[in-house]
């Protein structure tokens, strides 16, 4: 995989705790630009804490997080990084369009942006409905639509496809790859291993550490396994204690 010279995100020696519980202890990684990178790992592995650190909303104890060449959380990044939290961060007591109109005003994006993101997330039919009256899958798409406003250069998406039917999931992954082709960098977390195969690059995470940083094909080749689930088990040495080794 050819990696563009300037990574979208560089994390070095990151220590962070969620509440009082230490989650990341000296984590380092690079996320290449203009790709869909999957952050895969079981819940509790530190995916959300890492994503929050990249977005700049997480208190970190030490270490550096560089996003698009700037320190994470700096004012310059606030209109260039889109973030979707695990639970839909939208106003339930506003309509879909009112939500988008407000966040558009906050971002200072053009008025036509609202129609564009409604189209991209296929929310046209429910634009006038109260967000709280929508299904869970629709609400998470509203949250995604908000993150797409202003066409950010980096999208950090925490489990964006949870609870969606297979057709919608396929459509969203098509959207993600379309965005990457257009120059957007994406970090997409999932605890569903079969989603990993759809990513350009993979970061396998467990207990606050990166187990592997590879392409899906590279990971399978390095572990000698047939699917990502098996590769994960091989990496944590759970299928065979002697097989514990680092890929590459």
């Amino acid at each position: 995989m050819d990696t563009p010279a300037e990574p979208a995100v560089i994390v070095a020696d990151l220590h962070a705790r969620r509440g009082t519980h230490p989650v990341l202890h000296g984590l380092g990684l690079r996320i290449p630009a203009r790709q869909v990178v999957g952050l895969i790992g079981p819940s509790g592995s530190g995916k959300t804490t890492l994503m929050r650190a990249i977005v700049g909303v997480q208190v970190v104890q030490s270490g550096t997080v560089t996003v698009l060449g700037r320190p994470a959380g700096s004012a310059w990044l606030r209109r260039r990084v889109g973030y979707v939290t695990q639970d839909a961060s939208v106003y339930d007591d506003l309509t879909v369009r009112q939500n988008l109109d407000y966040f558009r005003a906050v971002l200072g994006a053009g008025r036509s942006d609202v129609a564009r993101v409604i189209e991209q997330t296929d929310l046209g039919a429910s634009a006038r409905q109260l967000t709280g009256s929508l299904s869970g899958g629709q609400r998470s798409r509203v949250s995604l639509a908000v993150a797409l406003l202003g066409s950010p250069e980096l999208l950090v998406l925490d489990e964006p496809t949870v609870g969606l039917d297979p057709v919608l999931r396929r459509d969203l992954w098509t959207l993600f790859h379309g965005l990457a082709a257009g120059g957007t960098s994406l970090l997409v977390s999932s605890h569903v291993m079969d989603e990993a195969a759809r990513c350009d690059g993979l970061l396998l995470m467990r207990d606050g550490d990166i187990l592997a940083d590879d392409t899906p094909a590279g990971l399978l080749a390095a572990t000698g396994t047939a699917d990502i689930d098996a590769a994960f088990l091989r990496l944590i040495g759970d299928d065979d204690p002697d097989a514990r080794k680092e890929p590459r």
């Binding site: 705790r17 969620r18 509440g19 009082t20 977005v55 700049g56 909303v57 997480q58 208190v59 959380g73 004012a75 606030r78 209109r79 990084v81 973030y83 939290t85 639970d87 839909a88 961060s89 939208v90 106003y91 339930d92 007591d93 506003l94 009112q98 407000y102 966040f103 005003a105 906050v106 971002l107 200072g108 109260l130 908000v146």
Partner: protein
Amino acid sequence: MTPSRTLATTGRVLSQIRHDPRTIALLLLVPSLLIGLVAWIFSETTVFQSVGPAMIALFPFIVMFLVTSITTLRERRTGTLERLLSMPLGKGDLILGYTLAFGLLAVLQSSIAVLFAITVCGLDIEGPVWLLVAVAVADAVLGTTLGLLASAFARTEFQVVQFMPVIVFPQILLGGIFLPRDQLPDVLRVLSDWLPLSHAVDALNAIATGSEDDAYVLGELLIILAWIVGAVILASATLRRRTP
């Protein structure tokens, strides 16, 4: 901070409340109903005539603090606060946007409460009614901004509500409602001089009895306004974009 983002926030908060009839009722009607209840309790006595003005300070203040705290608590719970703070929204945009939205509601709320206290409960007002409404509005906005300050200080959603007994209750106890402030023990009287609700109660009492001139009332109003401005600035400075 930019006016467009502040006003967008004000508009958003008002749209949210428009979709929530129970909050509208809580904001606009509950203070009046509670004032009515106090008047009813004391209907055979002259007590309401002396505590009525303080009730116009008390109930809107508490209701505004409560509604503001709950609204910002929901912003935290749903993650929209975190999302906003990861965007180019100034912390002042958020605080001032909320203050303006609830300030607008405070005008309606206080007008209704004053009108209700005078016409339905029979409260006699010697001084100018417009001044009474002005102090009541300032007092309600004070409740909002202290609510915003409490939630800005809070690092977690639960702390927001925990601040209420600390910030609101001492002001009620020391505000001259239970015992006139000049009869308080010295230390408590000095302490109550520093609390903004005391000044709202003093001003409303002065207008109701006509015991002081307008300049005195405007001076008290100025103290309340200073507290409002201070709370907005402090809340904006205290709000954290990063949380643990």
